[in-house]
Symmetry: C2
Subunit: 333 residues, 2 copies
């Protein structure tokens, strides 16, 4: 199975750590003008891997004819490359957000509709596969907390010093799209409810010379059945913190409350508070390969990838325009 | 010092546990038609206290001429009684919200403006005096986390079976006003920033036969300087949980993150993560008495009480009308 990697600005690491027998990275190429893929080359070298390097990914695809393309260039360009792959019916493992505008997302939706029997793609929502999130999902699906009524999510990252392309909206897309989108995916994944209304705010203040990068954001979603979901996003996690991220989700239901915090799961149901044992971590790229090879469905579907991107784009629009955005019936996948 | 208590539907317990030498509860009376004050009578009896009972609080005030009146009747009537006390320049320790409508709050503001040199009142924001919140406040004020950029708050209560007056908006006021208002007060207290925009949603679904009581709510505030604050409110805490409430606040600043959770305080600043020792708990009624007797300012001011009520009323309006509410310049105290 031949893999090509376009770009080195996202989570190509998901691929490197899940390479197995019969898979080969045959080519790598930048996906954007000025993108340096040296970090990918070095990471591969450490693993004893060598791939042909191309300066033009189109040429690489023509020559290598890969089974799978991994797309993780400057965030605003991933959608353009995904479209290119959809047009050529090449399986794509693509960094989120999968589009940088609603127009682009619509084009991707329409293209995918035409080729969906012939190719597969998924966004890199790898966080779902962490042991704590998988455990939480099992608890929710088993009905432990009854009907979901309220969801609170958090994404908090260390900022550090980011590459220059983070500093411009037209290469970075925005903090709701790059960081917040994970929690939007969790809300969709856990609740299975339609998003009906979106309100969001974001701010660039205190972004430590990161140009247009938003250092804080807050989103407020109304889902079907008057279920509400909050999403707090920030790059304010101190460098001295024990982990890079502080991901959280708390779900309050009619029969209990479950939360994920510090990589652990806590449940309070009728039977009292418990900390359930965690199930085993999985790998998104392995799951993606299972789908491609007909061995089982990938947990993150193209529909999930489209939906989370759409909601994140609308949340960014809400924050930019300072307006509540209502989803028209049928907007939602 | 003579105290009269009107109503027994709120936190008169703050008074009972802080009674000291020279204070006497001389009279008690219901504040609303149909209000049973037997629970107050019994609690006083257990302490060996006996007060004259009146059926009409106006008559009680005329006869007893108290120095302080404690107001905690059905939530929608506290404002009416506070107005009555303001007109008579009697010090009032009053349950929150201090008004059930913006019109009533304006009347209270105007009345207070005229008598502020002659009387004092405060809302029962007793949670501020808990050891963990006092500790958190000291940390924030000492600049440990730098400039505040983002605030996340949570109020989660067990529902149990509430008295009938909780089941009607016209006696209960609403969950944002009764429960959420505490966190609005925290946001004001910690940040000292003006509220500029308010967006909120609330739902009565899953309120277990509690009529109009909202079981969930979510508020999204924009403060000055693009500081955002979230507030998640629910009555979904399972009866099996170790405590009645699950109060939380997380504040992310330019130099660190501080949070209060499970009655503990956690701080991550440049110096790494620490769990600071808690300062001693205080009592709001003792603080109120200090103000009345000229021994020091009460931490919860009339202005704070008015502000939190105003913001909570506007948040309820936002949730009812599904609109963003912008505060006009000068609306804020």
């Amino acid at each position: 199975m031949k893999i090509c990697i376009i770009g080195a600005s996202g989570h190509y690491g998901y691929v490197l750590k899940s390479l197995s027998k019969g898979m080969k990275i045959s080519g790598i190429a930048p996906g954007s003008a000025g993108e340096n893929i040296g970090v990918l080359r070095n990471d591969m070298k450490k693993m004893g891997l060598l791939a042909k390097e191309y300066s033009d990914y189109r040429k690489m695809l023509d020559i290598e004819k890969p089974d799978i393309v991994v797309v993780n260039t400057f965030f605003s360009n991933n959608g353009k490359i995904l479209k290119y792959l959809l047009e050529r019916k090449i399986n794509a493992f693509v960094e989120k957000p999968i589009a940088a505008s609603l127009e682009e997302l619509n084009e991707i939706k329409n293209l995918y509709e035409k080729v969906k029997e012939e190719m597969f793609f998924t966004a890199m929502f790898g966080l779902r596969y962490k042991a704590h999130f998988l455990t939480a999902k099992l608890l929710i699906d088993s009905g432990k907390i009854g009907e979901i009524r309220l969801i609170n999510t958090q994404k908090s990252y260390k900022l550090g010093t980011r590459p220059d392309f983070y500093k411009r909206r037209d290469t970075y897309t925005g903090t709701i799209l790059w960081v917040g989108i994970h929690a939007i995916d969790w809300i969709n994944w856990f609740s299975k409810k339609k998003f009906l209304k979106i309100y969001a705010t974001h701010s660039r203040i205190a972004n430590k010379n990161h140009g247009e990068l938003e250092s804080t954001a807050l989103c407020h979603f109304t889902l079907e059945d008057e279920v509400f979901a909050s999403l707090s996003i920030d790059y304010l996690r101190p460098s001295s913190a024990p982990t890079h991220d502080d991901d959280r989700i708390r779900i309050a239901g009619t029969k209990g409350v479950m939360e994920v915090i510090n990589g652990r799961v806590y449940l309070i149901s009728d039977e009292g508070p418990v900390e359930p044992d965690l199930v085993e971590e999985k790998q998104i790229f392995t799951d993606f390969i299972a789908q491609i090879t007909g061995k089982g469905p990938c947990m993150v579907t193209p529909q999930d990838s489209i939906l989370a991107t759409e909601i994140a784009l609308l949340a960014r629009e809400s924050a930019d325009t300072e307006k509540i955005i209502e989803l028209k019936e049928g907007d939602d996948e």
